[in-house]
Subunit: 453 residues, 2 copies
């Protein structure tokens, strides 16, 4: 009797979570991971801190090496193996070993964990001095460039959280940094009040933010290296370094030709078990959709935490288990210089677009007792006028942001209404919080507004 | 038509919250606050930090002064007015003005917010050099003693959170500190694994903890000042300073003779509207009971946050509103030197005593991404084997404790089961959390244990 074989395409967060989970559940299973890059299982979210030098060595970001997985977990990790096609009818995957002739690998169960790819469709993306910051190899090349070429001016295209984290990192290295944002706001989906704080802190650290400035092309110098970025209607910003951070699109190129259904977001459609439309094929991580528990709709929210959870669930089910992943509430936190910014759920604008009747309050409080030198915290709560249900929360402040947003995330998971949130028994001691936690102050303001109208 | 009159007995957290809330709802109401001390509206929880000197001046702890309430909120605050009797039949309160002859004050609505009193029934409590740390005047006297008498050795009787915060404060001032604890454990209701960490940090800072060492009496020197504390079966610990921190009992002495019902805890029984058994009389804060939402039973949990919430609800209802306070889940956080300690819900032992079938896991994780110099966090989760419902959570660690316990508090509010907690969408970024938050790691371990058994 031959062993059952699980093949996993992609060896970063979702892929290696799936492999590890499957191994735990089934010591007999043959597990093969096809990873097109040279590293597995690294913390993508740590890349900006590697650029700044706060994380000194790339290897610190690697949770476990390919050798570890091979030797300690009996997982056949194949680096520099790029999957190029899936044949669900024959239950096989075609892959290139270091660009060589393709070979076919049969599977009993397949997990697609191909991740996301940077959106980078502007002319000049291929020039020297142009980088992305989406994988470890890209980040290593970029840091090498920073250390060897010592560029003075950088343009970052895109002001999502990765763009801003990279801006922070490059400014800390002493570069003159310009961020080009095509829309009117940094951090897509951020409330205007929070966005203002982010813009202020960028300005305080000398980062130039240009909004409504869509990048059009990157021009080269005589040596064929990036020299300037053209944007908007005739603008041009000189830079020896350009970082493309316009966002992530799902790498779903293997799925569609194999007849695996994509969702409306363009990512692979999955159910709660992470099963795709094709028999015995699961998908997880930045290539897959996820259910947004506030809207109830499938969404594309590529994040490391979700990739880990989906990978784990896919791995468990691929190994014969019965795990379910219900979905996300859209929690995100990032640090822009000294400012923490966090969100969960929907912004007022997003809520409206999803057919809710949003109302909102914004309050300012502090991170600790007043006499304990607390830092200001801005909290915005969004709820549905029709039902009183909490729809979203955003915060900005220098401390006490990250785990405080989790209180709102929990309220979203529990589908709490504003009246349910007035007297939550949240922790208090002077070094940690004011006696009325900022979330409670915001909930009470929201309630006042609800009962007044 | 004469104005309706609200009388409030007690002007600290619950009392002034009630007064302020009533004023907001009803600008016409006559509001009289009878406060036996010389200060109102101060942060009791900040007293240990005033002792250590981290809070330089007592007035920093005062949120608003009596003058502020009189002038800005039209609240008739009467300092050094001690209520001595309530006559519900006549709707009047008898009070002493600075120890003078009693006068009667009629009320339409009454809020009892008399707070808690230190348990201090050992011989010698009245000696010079013996203090409590339960109100601002006591703390001012204690700090004055520290600065004028410069005692070298202190004994703290009791190792609840106030006892330990005072131990921390006195050790920071350079005193030799001994803590006497009558039971086998610091911090009543703490899990043994967490208690061990607390004991370790006390030891590292030179605080001597003696467990199973009930204080019996305080002996005096020739000048009638505290000289030593006798404890256990023949022990004696010399000290020029003794702090009584054995706990708080409800100040319910006015309620019982007035026929107002006390609960089994000895505190005043109240419903969700903070109404007592007597018509038009409310109670709030450390003199009142509170419903514990995990057990469903009335409990005595004297804490500043609860006092504020209950006071606000009592004030709103006394002014004709319809507010409700559902109860607490037992959240507490404290800082002992560099160690944060937090709990919510029930310990395994408490759960068993309440008829649950508790099971538990304890895990160690970190406060941030591994490559971001996270500090260890210990998490213990307790759940009910019969239903899978979360019953409690405790944590210890040098950072990331206070608001992380709130995630568990929210899970208790929402009556989540362990299977509901496996994939919560909690915030993640390397400076703030590991990719699997410690709470999620604990929940997954708990789930593993549940499904194994």
């Amino acid at each position: 009797m031959s062993r059952e074989r699980l093949v996993i395409i992609g060896g970063v967060a979702a892929g290696m979570s799936a492999a590890s989970r499957a191994r735990k559940l089934n010591p007999q299973l043959e597990i093969i991971v096809l990873e097109k890059g040279r590293h597995v299982s690294y913390g993508t979210c740590g890349l900006p801190y590697y650029l700044s030098g706060q994380v000194a060595e790339a290897r610190e970001l690697v949770v476990y090496t390919a050798e570890f997985f091979r030797e300690k977990r009996n997982i056949d990790v194949r680096l520099e193996h790029e999957a190029i096609a899936i044949e669900p009818g024959r239950k096989s995957v075609h892959a290139l070993d270091r660009g060589a002739q393709p070979g076919a690998i049969g599977y009993d169960k397949l997990v697609i964990a191909t991740g996301g790819a940077p959106e980078l469709e502007i002319p000049g993306s291929e020039l020297g001095g142009v980088f992305t910051c989406n994988d470890l190899e890209g980040a290593i090349r970029l840091r090498h460039f920073l250390e060897q070429q010592r560029p003075k001016r950088a343009v970052i295209i895109g002001s999502g959280y990765i763009g801003l984290e990279v801006a922070d990192a490059l400014a800390k290295r002493g570069l003159e940094v310009t961020v080009l944002e095509r829309s009117e706001s940094v951090l897509e989906g951020i409330e205007p009040e929070i966005g203002e704080r982010v813009e202020a802190v960028l300005g305080q650290h000398g980062v130039r933010l240009m909004k409504n400035a869509a990048a059009i092309s990157i021009s080269a110098d005589a040596q064929g290296r990036a020299a300037a970025v053209q944007y908007g209607t005739g603008g041009s910003q000189p830079a020896e370094l350009v970082v493309l951070a316009t966002g992530i699109v799902p790498r779903a190129g293997l799925a569609q030709p194999a007849g695996i259904q994509l969702g409306r977001t363009g990512a692979i459609a999955v159910d709660e078990r992470m099963q795709t439309s094709a028999n015995s094929i699961y998908a997880a991580g930045d290539c897959a959709e996820v259910r947004h528990l506030v809207t109830g709709q499938p969404a594309y929210v590529p994040l490391g935490t979700t990739a880990n959870k989906q990978g784990r669930v896919a791995g468990e089910n691929a190994a014969g288990g019965h795990a379910r992943f219900e979905g996300v509430v859209g929690t995100l936190v990032t640090q822009v210089f000294e400012l923490g910014v966090a969100k969960t759920g929907l912004s007022a604008a997003q809520a409206k677009a999803h057919g809710f009747q949003p109302d909102a309050v914004t309050i300012t409080s502090t991170s600790r007792a007043r006499y304990f030198a607390g830092k200001p915290i801005l909290v915005k709560l969004v709820w549905d006028r029709a039902t009183g249900r909490l729809l979203g929360c955003q915060m900005a402040g220098q401390e006490g942001i990250a785990k405080r947003i989790d209180v709102a995330a929990m309220a979203l998971h529990a589908r709490m209404r504003i009246p349910d949130m007035l007297h939550l028994d949240l922790s208090y001691a002077p070094p940690f919080a004011p006696v009325w936690d900022p979330i409670l102050i915001a909930a009470n303001e929201a309630h006042k507004k609800m009962t007044r109208s």
